[in-house]
């Protein structure tokens, strides 16, 4: 969105925004990554999966990959691309799944014994602003580590199948381990267990996030709802852009370590 976003530092971390048939939101996701200083580009499902390994991080963006056939994210999760991304995740690379991308991560097993089921009780598609609150340990996840505990971010929920679910004891364990790094403020509109909006893996380098940060990442996205954000700079990153800024800072730190 910003002018600066177009001119990317050649030393910037390389991010692949993976596109399956039916993916959407990839352009906003690219913009959000670039505005945070990352070198993001689209990676099409028909490209050679092995060439994914050259990237530093991966984003599965929203949409309806393979038309959500069988279950949301199920077909894409069996893709050779996801096999490569899973292997790279085990090597510590950062993986962000947003909405349909979160469903792909859940179906692939990258966030453990977690499923994403149909919204309850509505059972239908819901699209609305939601306020998402950082947990007590945002530092355990690469995508939230620069948020304050309890920080609130406005995002856009847009899904029919967004309810994090699974065994109750497993979710208690997720809670104890601080892996529910983002949860809905108040009652979850989709019935998610523990109000989960974002769940990371044990190592904190994979985050499945149901609401869309990239749809509320600039002032113009949210100013009509929040007049305090109206200004002469509608393309100014705000609020949920912090997810991408956190990702970029984590990648810089990782590069420095390597």
């Amino acid at each position: 969105m910003s002018e600066a976003g177009a001119a990317v530092d050649r030393q910037a971390a390389r991010v692949a925004v993976v596109v399956f048939p039916g993916t959407n939101s990839e352009d906003e996701t690219i913009d959000a990554c670039r505005d945070a200083g990352m070198d993001a580009r689209l990676f099409w499902w028909s490209e050679d999966p092995e060439s994914l390994r050259a990237f530093d991080a991966y984003v599965f963006s929203g949409g309806f990959a393979h038309e959500d056939r069988v279950r949301a994210g199920a077909i894409a999760s069996k893709s050779p691309l996801v096999t490569v991304v899973r292997e790279e995740a085990e090597r510590g690379k950062l993986i962000l799944g947003i909405c349909n991308g979160a469903q792909i991560l859940a179906e692939s097993g990258m966030i453990g014994d977690v499923a994403i089921g149909r919204n309850l009780p509505s059972r239908h598609y819901q699209c609305r602003f939601v306020d998402v609150v950082a947990g007590d340990e945002p530092g355990r996840c690469a995508f939230t580590r620069f948020l304050e505990p309890g920080a609130s971010l406005r995002m856009v929920a847009a899904h029919a199948e967004g309810r994090f679910t699974g065994d109750a004891r497993y979710f208690d364990d997720l809670e104890e381990r601080g892996r529910i790094v983002l949860r809905y403020a108040g009652k979850a509109h989709n019935g998610a267990m523990h109000g989960a909006a974002g769940i990371c893996n044990d190592d904190g380098n994979v985050l499945a996030l149901m609401p869309h940060p990239e749809r509320a990442a600039w002032a113009f996205n949210v100013a009509f709802d929040d007049p305090s954000l109206r200004s002469d700079e509608p393309n100014r990153p705000v609020g949920a852009h912090a997810i991408f800024e956190s990702m970029a800072r984590s990648l810089r730190d990782l590069k420095a370590v390597r």
Partner: protein
């Protein structure tokens, strides 16, 4: 309490079944040639309630589950066929609203509940039906998410199409 099982199938090409064929072949089931899918509705009626034919007639007017332009409706008969099928259901499905609608707006009087599921049938080259073990593999590999769904493998019942 009578339980009537209905199957709703597409009469036009089933893109989801075709996608599943490709995905399962990609996972190593190279002999897979064809996939069939039925959406199942199990209606729980009170003793002395509507007949299965009357329920079927009512369902054909409920476009939320049946579109006459692209669907075929059948009900399951008492006999089994030699074909196996996997029946996959969401463990926490809530069909209360559907049951209320079928009862209150589409005339299935006394309807006490509805269960939904998907039946999958797999056929190999030469038309041979996949066996039970292969269907279990397909469910654990793709068709059922063990954290949110359950599945059973059974002999497919005869499916009787209404008049």
């Amino acid at each position: 309490m009578p339980v009537y099982e209905f199957g709703v199938e597409l009469t036009v090409g089933d893109n989801t079944a075709f996608t599943v064929r490709g995905a399962l072949r990609g996972l190593g089931y190279v002999d897979l040639d064809r996939v069939e899918r039925s959406e199942l509705l199990r209606l729980k009626l009170p003793e002395g309630g509507l007949s299965i034919d009357a329920c079927g007639a009512a369902l054909t007017h409920a476009e939320v589950v049946f579109n006459p332009n692209k669907h075929r409706l059948s009900h399951s008969g008492p006999d089994e066929t030699i074909v196996y099928e996997a029946v996959v259901a969401d463990v926490d499905d809530d069909s209360t609203a559907l049951a209320e609608m079928l009862r209150d707006r589409f005339g299935i009087d006394g309807l006490e509940g509805v269960e939904r599921a998907i039946a999958w049938r797999l056929f190999e080259n030469g038309g041979k039906s996949a066996g039970a073990e292969r269907l279990e593999w397909a469910c654990t590999s793709l068709l059922a998410n063990k954290f949110s769904q359950s599945f059973t493998v059974r002999r497919s019942p005869t499916r009787i199409t209404g008049k």
